[in-house]
């Protein structure tokens, strides 16, 4: 071979290799999306992971949907009737509903699905507790016989956050609620492509051609017509923020669900649409182990309220862009119907650490070691841990910040024992604002103690009483009054402390339009 021929060969190969990247030149019928994390669990009943919820809403449909004002309206349901003073409720299914395996959606599928969901979700558990009998008298009718009127029944079935009431075929819905369903057969607008799944890398959905959107109503969040405009929706799992940003800029993907805060200016500069689609954001929570000293003492917990600066948490997580975080956050999501400032004085105003120290001493704190569980592998939780450790130290507590990964934290925090036996005293977490709209889904508002409660195990009979009354409230005004009373009670018993609300930006390329408000939903989205 002549040297010139060899060089020509190399040149041709290099040119082919370095040809401009054509990955972006995909058809407008494919949407490429970077999810917030890897989708490991498929069953939206088995786990509360938000990424599984997002996946679940692609595959499964719900009997009712919820709009931007958190109002429930029929989705798979044609309508609902209530008789016998609201104790006999019948929901009829609309025609033409089919599962992805071609079988029709029948009332018995819905009954089995509701029962499975009701075994796991707190709102569902409340609904099932007032349900005497749940049956399917015919293929189109779902019948609830209730112990008492339950006005929130459509809201429960329209739940749009984790553990939503996903309707699946009876054969799948009969699975033990504590075991995962892995065969993804729903009746939603997109079908799950199990054969293309590569865990940690790629999840693929294809349009459900048999899906019939509602003929009426306004598309808003999970309510109204759901129109699938893409032949394929591909989820590309990109764990590294910088790589995800570069992939979005280069057009290799169309939409990044949760860009990291430090990437937002770069993305804006690159002409990418950066917006907040979910006004409920994320709300941080500080939780105490109330079975162990010193936080078994409510006066000590109340003293800590004076040390919490929500602004510090907001800035640490969201940066100094004040549009990306809120302070003055109470127990219900700011801007939603039950939110108020009732009883919040201890959390507002200037922070006075000397006063907190005096209050702690007066409450009987004697310098006991306080173990703070501080996850290091998830950004928001890391920030919360850093701020909480500093704040508690400034308040004069003898804080032992124990840094560990999230997997260790969740294993550790179910330990009810003292700290010398692997227990803990305080930990922070966050939830979507959508989980803190009302007492039904807001687990940290529970005061049912060691027997029924989740980690922290707060015991507050008064809070439980108010919560039960809220479910029976006849109208929104009565609900709001009870919600205010609950917030006042929270500031007394301190089952947890709200830290701040931070907004989650989402970023998509300019040719993406009609992105629904709320969490990442894929119906009605268009790509020009």
């Amino acid at each position: 071979m002549k040297r010139r021929t060899l060089l020509q060969g190399f040149g041709a190969s290099a040119a082919a290799l370095a040809a401009p990247n054509l990955a972006a030149a995909q058809g407008s019928r494919v949407l490429k999306f970077i999810p917030q994390s890897d989708l490991t669990v498929l069953d939206p009943i088995w786990t509360t992971a938000y990424v599984t919820r997002n996946h679940g809403f692609l595959v499964f449909d719900t009997l009712f949907g919820s709009d931007g004002a958190f109002k429930a309206s029929p989705q798979m349901a044609e309508g609902m009737t209530a008789e016998n003073d609201g104790k006999l409720v019948r929901i009829t299914l609309r025609s033409g509903l089919k599962f992805h395996d071609g079988s029709p959606v029948l009332a018995r599928d819905c009954v089995a699905s509701i029962k499975r969901w009701g075994a796991r979700d707190s709102f569902g558990q409340t609904l099932m507790a007032v349900t005497d009998e749940l049956t399917a008298p015919d293929d189109k009718t779902i019948q609830f016989k209730l112990k008492k009127r339950f006005a929130l029944l459509p809201d429960a079935l329209a739940k749009s956050s984790s553990n939503f009431c996903a309707i699946m075929p009876e054969r799948l819905a009969l699975t033990d609620p504590f075991k995962q369903v892995t065969e993804m057969v729903g009746s939603g607008p997109y079908k799950f492509k199990a054969d293309e799944r590569n865990v940690g890398h790629l999840v693929v959905y294809e349009r459900n051609a048999a899906y019939v959107p509602r003929a009426n109503g306004v598309s808003d969040c999970t309510a109204g017509p759901k129109v699938a405009n893409f032949d394929r929706v591909e989820w590309h799992v990109i764990p590294d923020g910088s790589t995800a940003a570069a992939a979005l800029q280069s057009g290799e993907v169309d939409w990044w669900e949760n860009p990291t805060g430090d990437m937002l200016p770069l993305l804006r500069k690159a002409g990418v649409t950066v917006t907040v689609q979910d006004p409920t954001g994320l709300i941080g929570c500080m939780r105490f182990n109330q079975l162990q000293p010193p936080f078994d003492n409510p006066a000590i917990r109340r003293a800590i309220l004076g040390a919490v600066s929500q602004e510090d948490y907001g800035i640490a997580i969201a940066g100094d862009d004040t549009s990306m975080y809120s302070t003055g956050v109470g127990v219900f999501t700011p801007g939603t119907p039950l939110a108020s400032k009732a009883g919040m004085e201890p959390l507002l105003g200037k922070r006075d650490y000397d006063k907190v120290k005096r209050d702690l001493a007066a409450a009987g704190y004697k310098g006991e070691r306080v173990v703070l569980l501080a996850p290091t592998d998830l950004n928001v939780l890391k920030m919360q841990g850093d701020i909480a450790g500093d704040m508690l130290k400034r308040a004069g507590l003898n804080v032992d910040v124990q840094a560990m990964d999230w997997g260790s934290v969740v294993g550790r925090r179910v330990n009810k024992g003292p700290i010398d036996k692997g227990g803990w005293n305080v930990a922070c977490t966050f939830w979507a604002g959508g989980d803190q709209l009302n007492p039904a889904g807001h687990t940290f508002l529970r005061g049912n103690g060691e027997a029924g409660g989740n980690w922290g195990w707060p015991n507050s009979p008064k809070l439980e009483e108010l919560r039960n009354a809220w479910f029976d409230a006849p109208d929104l005004a009565a609900q709001q009054k009870l919600a205010q009373d609950m917030q006042v009670q929270v500031m007394q018993d301190v089952p947890y402390i709200p830290l701040s609300q931070t907004m989650q930006a989402t970023a998509f390329r300019k040719d993406i339009t009609n992105v629904p408000n709320g969490f990442a939903m894929f119906w009605n989205v268009r790509k020009s």
């Binding site: 290799l17 370095a18 990247n21 490991t40 786990t47 790589t243 992939a247 179910v414």
Partner: protein
């Protein structure tokens, strides 16, 4: 030779068994609970306990280890706690990208580093030698993720020559997409390896070039190229091959970072994700396979010695 190979392969069995027991014990006693991760914030301890029971995580250590060992002996690495997919299938999906990345990295690194090392030794003390050593020091000093970001920024984002991320499976009919996806990651991963091999090659070559037989060859009028590549390099190969074998472990570690930076769905990312989630069967399966591969690589290195040095016989 054949008997030696068989003996060495048989000898891997106790090694892998000890690794298996060690990793199983480590995970058993490590903090963390996959059931609590699955159940989420809202679950009660009873819910977590029910999930734990449904996953079989409430059984004693001995029972679980015996069951897992029995499965492994039958070629079954178990089922992922989270995805409910067979671990063998998940590793099978991930093995090709990782093997591709490592092979390409090895190819790039060896084909660059050995000539550089030889050149540096030949031109000892000149600016060429210093330049090569500067490249080597840089390769050691700059973390692989920094190199990855720089390469991605320059060649993918700015010049648009290569994709930023992802992986395309190898296809004989059109291997270019595969290569385009792997060039930048292989360069990023290979830089430290280039540095390592170049330094060892240089040092070994300098030692060999000072030997009497090289002086004799020169005295007999043998040209510089035959001296370097036929006489010296072959005799310097044993330490170089050894360092390549040892560096393989470093390559596995580096692959984890590189796969994350370039979003390559490889075994490295699989195991890191599994560790964070406490998906025990995946961690056990991957570690077991990697330890086996590592033992095999060492065996391969030992066998390669015989090619370069006929005095070595097994």
């Amino acid at each position: 030779m054949f008997a030696y190979i068989v003996r060495r392969i048989v000898a891997t069995i106790p090694v892998v068994a000890i690794v298996a027991l060690f990793i199983f014990s480590l995970l058993y006693f490590a903090p963390g609970d996959p059931a609590a991760i699955i159940a989420g914030d809202q679950a009660s301890p009873a819910d977590v306990e029910r999930i734990r029971a449904s996953l079989g995580l409430d059984r004693p250590f001995v029972v679980r280890f015996a069951e897992w060992s029995w499965q492994v002996l039958h070629g079954d690495l178990g089922v992922s706690i989270f995805t409910n997919l067979p671990v063998t299938k998940m590793i099978g999906q991930r093995i090709e990208p990782t093997v591709s990345l490592m092979l390409l990295t090895l190819l790039l690194a060896i084909s660059t580093a050995v000539p550089l090392g030889v050149l540096a030794a030949w031109k000892q003390g000149t600016w060429i030698d210093r330049l090569v050593m500067m490249i080597a020091v840089s390769g050691f000093s700059v973390p692989v993720f920094v190199v990855g970001y720089i390469l991605a920024y320059v060649f993918a984002l700015s010049l648009d020559w290569f994709p930023v991320q992802g992986y395309t499976p190898f296809s004989l009919s059109d291997p270019l997409p595969w290569l385009r996806n792997l060039i930048l990651p292989a360069m990023a991963l290979g830089l430290a390896f280039v540095a390592l091999i170049a330094r060892i090659t240089r040092a070994t070559m300098l030692e060999v070039l000072s030997q009497d037989y090289i002086r004799t060859a020169r005295a007999k009028g043998v040209g510089q190229r035959p001296i370097l590549f036929l006489h010296a390099l072959k005799n310097a190969a044993v330490p170089i091959v050894t360092i390549i074998g040892i560096g393989f472990a470093g390559l596995i570690g580096g692959a984890v970072v590189t796969e994350s930076v370039f979003a390559i769905p490889g075994v490295g990312r699989l195991v890191v994700d599994a560790i964070l989630r406490r998906d025990y069967p995946i961690i056990q399966g991957v570690v077991l396979i990697l330890s086996f591969v590592y033992v095999l690589v060492n065996l391969g290195v030992d066998l390669l010695y015989t090619l370069f040095d006929p005095r070595i016989r097994y």
